[in-house]
Subunit: 156 residues, 2 copies
DNA sequence: CCTGAAACTAGACAGAT
DNA sequence: ATCTGTCTAGTTTCAGG
């Protein structure tokens, strides 16, 4: 994988291929090939090149957590004691499966995390029995997402 | 698609299949089939069932935005005037490609969004010339993510 | 809920432009 | 450097247990 601070150049064909596959990673390559007007093999070669360049970092099946009863999403801003290092806090947060994202942020907090819980009671337990129990966490601020209204990737 | 408030039941085989494909949506089904010990056709039938149940909401190619020069990620809390309705604000935000997520939140702000920009100057322009220009946006608070240290889906 | 067969597609290679 | 044709292995559907 190429160093990711060298910018990758992509042409119109690459963009078309990526737009198809960003929507549906299992879309048949030959179907894309027919739409674009090149052979399937050419698409495979371009995809290999894009992967080698570091632009393509993989593919994922997307799960709908609501179908499993996970309906409460929240952002939590975390204040850390001066003595607590960020890497140690992240290591502790990684062990909590409800934590889906963790950002090292400027501004009010040391850390901003996104958590996904079954309901408010579950969220309360994650806060009180998991997050607040981490050594060095002094205070938290919670923002419940009543509805996620936009969720997308960068536009190509 | 089934109503998503009825909980989906999945067994151990479904979980194994999902864990493989959540990591890599293009992983060969037959490879998974051999690892689990059932036929490829059986996996396809299970996947169709999971999709019909609403648990599987699709698959995506994942792009590394840094390779395209997008290195500045930030969360922005937005205060809306009483007169501004949430849906109209979301409609305006949808037109801004740098906005990747939008959450209707409890707490301080009316809306919390995630934006991805090339650099700090680009972020400043998005803030001043796009977000703040939206009618009904009274004030914003910006938190730059210096580093996203965790990024994952729900654990199955 | 599973398997096996049939038709189609993915992914890799050699070779042409 | 990027394309095409071809070949093996994988995907996906369907009839049937």
């Amino acid at each position: 994988m190429k160093s990711s601070n060298s910018l990758v150049k992509i042409d119109g064909i690459d963009k078309k291929i990526l737009r198809y596959l960003m929507e549906d990673a299992r879309r048949p390559i030959l179907e894309i090939a027919r739409n674009i007007g090149i052979s399937g093999a050419a698409i495979h070669q371009r995809l290999r090149k894009l992967e080698a360049s570091g632009l393509l970092s993989g593919s994922k099946f997307v799960i709908n957590p609501k179908a499993l009863g996970y309906t409460t999403m929240a952002y939590i801003g975390i204040f850390l004691d001066k003595a607590m290092s960020n890497p140690r806090a992240v290591a502790a947060l990684e062990k909590i499966p409800e934590v889906l994202e963790c950002h090292y942020t400027t501004g009010n907090w040391s850390i901003l995390i996104k958590v996904l819980c079954q309901d408010n009671e579950h969220l309360m337990q994650v806060l009180n029995k998991k997050i607040q129990q981490i050594e060095g966490v002094s205070r938290t601020e919670t923002f419940i997402s009543l509805d996620q209204q936009i969720d997308r990737q960068i536009r190509i």
